[in-house]
């Protein structure tokens, strides 16, 4: 693939979730990885958390840690700190200290994944942290929520062990606060964190009163707004306020909170306990190291990055991801981790420590003995009684020859057990069994079993309470299904070293460029005549950099790239196949062609919606924001010379018909306001908003805007601003109810910019073609396996850009490169193993009647005259089973859903009625 590049190992510094993901992805792509962790264990901060939005994912980290430990291409160095890095890109020398021992390792690239620390509020006496025992940090509170934690999952307040009836969360502790908290930025994650803690507290006991004291509720991420709405439905209360002091009530141990409400009136309230939502800080040691080796560190003390190179540091060959380069949530950290992988692949060819951990080809005579191993895993949230019930149910099922409980490392545990027993099949029972598919399959492969000889049983429904009858019946059916499994043939299919990118906007082009740089040929399909997508309407990044110059350079480089075939005015018609071997039909002006490719990246974009409110379309002084941006690009003077402007946020957004938050509109508005004020300080600018969501370092420009005199006025969705032409016809008047003044105010505006919701443009159509799911907001749904933010629900199909969720240019670039990074994990393989859910013709039974040829919805079967029988390419078979059902001679089989199973299940199921 591509021209000669240097080869080398990669050093990953920090083994939090981002570091672990980076190491695993790099190892999958063939690199030998040194994974350095300062502490004694892998995992970083995640093990302290109870749940990760949106679902319980506590058991997702352990398998990853285990995978790191077992992967021969990952050299895990615990208790190790990095002393110095010298050399240059392609050939770095890293000085390390493990305990007392000093050593030096070499690597072609370095990834800084050293994570975060949380703000320590002890110095701020007005929070009473340290002095009042019932004031705790959010991290401490969450630890106490863990079922395996000190309280066994029961909420207790520290002072007297009493179950709290009223809990308050105080937001922005150590964030958005220069005076006392020494950080001006927003820590991004705390709003969701507090909501999650409150919701989980209510899940334990719905009667607990939960109140969150906040400035702005920042639920700007994918699915977050929905989570907020659900939390409100569940009774979580929000109080917009500024907290003045927190004081213990000596006699009771309760906590008195004094705060100013939105109108500035002082209020008091007493709570059983108070949780301080503490902000994030980069790892101090990592920043110290960064400074030492000359990596640029920004004003907020994070490793500095540029929006167009979101995971690059100031030193070539050293990349960064996760909390060390900004306050990021887990999804974004993982996205950056994958992007860093793509960046490494662009200049460095892999040098492995050992041949990749290739699963031995499954022998034809793979062990598929009828004995069944029932392996179960109990989530920390589950009642321990369930374990006992599983064991006793298993004792009544004669087909079950072995039972084991797995903790943490599912793959390792299963391998160990399978090595000791003769079972050929596995029934895996767990809270969300589907999530562990990969681990179960891997364990079967590694143990010389057929990797598809397993069934899963979901214990989730059983929740915390044991329900013996349901549990027993579920296990019985699961075991029966496993008994009825027929081993499918497993085949090696060569990986087509080609990628398809759908969408020629910023995300699509960045993905294509990253893949090409890693040596992979790409076909980039764009519906319109020209490349650029929504990016053509973007003037500047939130940091203020020229987005158009960047875009033009990007388009030029993509068009000149010999490795990238750009097809404009081209639509996608049809797709079939599997990760590693897809066939997609595209159409250009009535001409169709087929593209074979291993992976697909869906970057089909989005647009700001049009609305029929606020005089839009009736008055030419009212712009959609994309129109305002275009005008700022083409004719800036017209806008800059205006005397006054009003920006209205959340237009047609965060409302019933379009409930999601569009993420970047607040940052756009403050950026534009700041730039206009800089050009024309006399311009009066008003921002009319519902929540200012300038999350992360974007908070700094919000601050700058206020300092420059931009006026921010909040409104309630029930009482929207009104807009009318000025009486003298000179402009517009916007009337809005100001909650601080507690009365309506009228604002003159020479123009009004409406920040409307960003919605996906082609997702519905493409979701159908590429067999991926959409989420409730119409964006591509993430993989159910969780913690794979750029994976869609279909293997080998990734997403990036506005089609995944609204985001700004920098984040879109990171996501695009992450999608490329994930794609490269497949592209770097030579073969993929296909099996499982495919149909197979048994030639001796085939009457060559053509029934399958005619009935396959995907035109896969054909009559192979050399075999004298029909043939179904397993790499193309979609596994619907239509031909199996239609074949009059019963010559087509589908081991994963066999006739044996379907004809014997009824009897076995009816037994239970």
């Amino acid at each position: 693939m591509g021209q000669k590049k240097p080869t080398g190992f990669v050093m990953v510094i920090g083994a939090g979730i981002a570091g672990i993901q980076t190491a695993l992805s790099l190892a999958d792509a063939g690199y030998g990885v040194h994974l350095v962790e300062r502490s004694a264990a892998l995992g970083g901060m995640i093990p302290d958390l109870h749940r990760i939005y949106p679902l319980c994912a506590c058991c997702k980290l352990d398998p990853r840690i285990a995978a790191c430990e077992q992967n021969p291409n990952i050299n895990v160095l615990l208790d190790t700190s990095v002393d110095d890095i010298s050399g240059k890109i392609g050939n770095f020398r890293i000085a390390l200290t493990t305990g007392e021992e000093k050593k030096e390792l070499q690597a072609g690239a370095v990834i800084f994944a050293a994570g975060i620390e949380t703000f320590q509020p002890a110095n701020l006496d007005y929070y009473a942290y340290g002095s009042a025992s019932n004031v705790v940090t959010s991290v401490e509170f969450e630890q106490s929520q863990k079922p395996l934690g000190p309280n066994g999952g029961m909420l207790k307040r520290p002072s007297d062990g009493k179950t709290p009836a009223k809990i308050a969360w105080l937001q922005c502790v150590g964030s958005r606060d220069i005076n006392r908290g020494d950080a001006s930025y927003c820590s991004t994650v705390c709003c969701m964190h507090a909501l999650k803690e409150a919701v989980n507290a209510k899940a334990v006991n719905a009667d607990i009163e939960t109140t969150i004291f906040f400035i702005d509720m920042r639920t700007h991420g994918k699915g977050y707004e929905n989570y907020l709405n659900t939390a409100l439905e569940k009774g979580v209360q929000l109080v917009r306020s500024k907290v003045h002091t927190i004081n213990p009530v000596p006699e009771t141990g309760d906590v008195l909170m004094s705060y100013a409400d939105e109108q500035g009136h002082m209020q008091e309230a007493v709570f059983d306990m108070v949780v301080l939502s503490v902000g994030l800080r980069p790892s101090a040691q990592a920043i110290e190291l960064a400074r030492k080796i000359g990596i640029r560190v920004d004003a907020d003390n994070y490793v500095g990055t540029e929006p167009f190179q979101p995971v690059s540091t100031s030193t070539a060959g050293i990349f960064v991801c996760g909390g060390v380069c900004g306050p990021h949530d887990i999804a974004h950290s993982l996205t950056q981790a994958n992007a860093a992988v793509a960046q490494v692949a662009a200049f460095l060819d892999p040098q492995p420590f050992a041949p990749a951990l290739n699963y031995a080809a499954v022998p034809a005579e793979a062990q598929t003995s009828p004995g069944i191993l029932l392996a179960y895993q109990l989530c920390p949230g589950m009642h321990p009684e369930i374990g006992r019930l599983v064991e006793s149910a298993a004792a009544d099922l004669p087909a079950v020859t072995d039972v084991c409980r797995l903790d943490g490392d599912i793959r390792g545990g299963l391998c160990e057990k399978l090595a000791q027993c003769a079972a050929g099949r596995v029934v895996f029972a767990s809270c969300t069994a589907l999530m562990h598919k990969d681990s179960v399959e891997a364990a079967l492969r590694l143990s010389g079993r057929n990797p598809f000889m397993y069934e899963t049983v979901d214990l989730k429904l059983l929740g915390g309470e044991p329900a013996p009858a349901t549990l027993t019946e579920r296990l019985r059916v699961g075991v029966m299904r496993a008994e009825l499994l027929s081993p499918p043939a497993v085949r090696e299919i060569p990986v087509v070293k080609h990628a398809l990118v759908v969408g020629g906007g910023v995300a699509g082009m960045e993905s294509a460029r990253a893949l090409s740089a890693a040596g992979c040929p790409v076909t980039l399909v764009e519906k319109e005549k020209v490349l650029g997508g929504h990016g053509r309407h973007v003037r500047a990044t939130w940091q203020g950099l020229d987005a158009q110059a960047y875009l033009q350079e990007l388009i030029r480089s993509v068009e000149q790239d010999d490795n990238i075939t750009v097809l404009t005015e081209t639509g996608v018609k049809h797709n079939r196949g599997y990760a590693g071997n897809f066939v997609t039909t595209v159409e250009n002006n009535g001409r169709t062609q087929e593209i074979r490719h291993a992976v697909t990246i869906l970057a089909c974009g989005g647009d700001d919606r049009s609305v029929d409110e606020y005089l839009y379309g009736q008055n030419d002084r009212v712009y959609l924001w994309s129109e305002l941006e275009s005008k700022l690009v083409s004719d800036p003077a017209a806008v800059e010379n205006a005397g006054s402007a009003v920006f209205i946020q959340c237009v047609g957004s965060r409302e019933k018909d379009c409930p999601h938050c569009s993420n970047l509109c607040c940052s756009f508005t403050v950026r534009t306001a700041v730039d206009l004020k800089t050009k024309n300080p006399d311009m009066k600018i008003f921002v009319v908003y519902r929540e200012m969501r300038t999350f992360g370092l974007r908070e700094n420009i919000y601050l700058e805007a206020r300092q420059k005199g931009v006026v921010f006025i909040r409104y309630e969705v029930e009482n929207k601003p009104r807009i009318a032409p000025a009486a003298d016809g000179s402009g517009l008047v916007v009337t809005v109810f100001d909650p601080i003044l507690d009365r309506p105010v009228s604002l003159d505006a020479d123009f009004v910019s409406l920040q409307t919701a960003i919605r996906p443009t082609h997702n519905a159509e493409l979701a159908e073609i590429f067999h991926v799911d959409l989420d409730a907001d119409g964006f591509f749904a993430p993989s159910p396996e969780k913690l794979k933010p750029v994976d869609t629900t279909a293997g080998g199909v990734f997403m990036a850009g506005l089609a995944a969720y609204p985001k700004d240019t920098g984040d879109a670039i990171a996501e695009a490169r992450a999608a490329a990074g994930r794609a490269l994990e497949i592209l770097k393989q030579d073969t993929v193993q296909i099996g499982g859910q495919v149909a197979e013709v048994m030639p001796e039974k085939c009457a060559v009647c053509c029934t399958c040829v005619r009935t396959c919805p995907f035109y896969v079967p054909f009559i192979d005259h050399d075999r004298g029988a029909a043939y179904i390419d397993p790499a193309l078979c979609q596994g619907c089973g239509m031909c199996v059902a239609e074949c009059p001679g019963k010559a087509i089989v589908m081991p994963s859903c066999s006739d044996r199973m379907l004809t014997q299940m009824p009897a076995a199921l009816l037994e239970g009625v």
Partner: protein, 134 residues
């Protein structure tokens, strides 16, 4: 006299099963105990024989729950299944069994509630017809 509880076997595609799981998780709507689910990748996989087998084993009713006609991931799975159900109805008629004992339903993605509704609806219908064997 005890009310007759029909024994029903339901074939459903993975799409429906996912919908059912979601709803059961969220709203505590669980399937009635008398309805037993057999999951298939797509309803197009279900043969006439598979639909007959439960009757052979003493089921009082059988149904197929699949996608909407226009939203089958495999394009024609549910319409194929519907034709096969119609064929089984013909067979049942020929052997003097009420053809209403077998039915096909379309469930939209995310309509988990409808999925449990269907199970109850079918139970009600088959209860009205009575046991398959007097």
């Amino acid at each position: 006299m005890d009310e007759f509880t029909p024994r029903i076997v339901a074939f459903c595609c993975s799409n429906c099963a996912a919908a059912a799981a979601t709803i059961a998780d969220g709203l505590q709507h669980v399937l009635p105990e008398n309805v037993k689910i057999i999951q298939v990748p797509c309803t197009g996989r279900i043969e006439v024989l598979h639909l007959l087998k439960p009757f052979e084993e003493g089921a009082d009713g059988v149904y197929v729950a699949g996608c909407q006609e226009d939203s089958c991931r495999y394009t024609s799975g549910i319409s194929k299944a519907a034709r096969r159900v119609a064929h089984v109805q013909k067979i049942l008629e020929e052997i003097a069994i009420e053809p209403e004992r077998i039915a096909v339903f379309n469930v939209s993605a995310g309509m988990g509630h409808a999925f449990t509704e269907i199970a109850r609806e079918m139970t009600r219908k088959v209860r009205e017809i009575g046991p398959i064997q007097a």
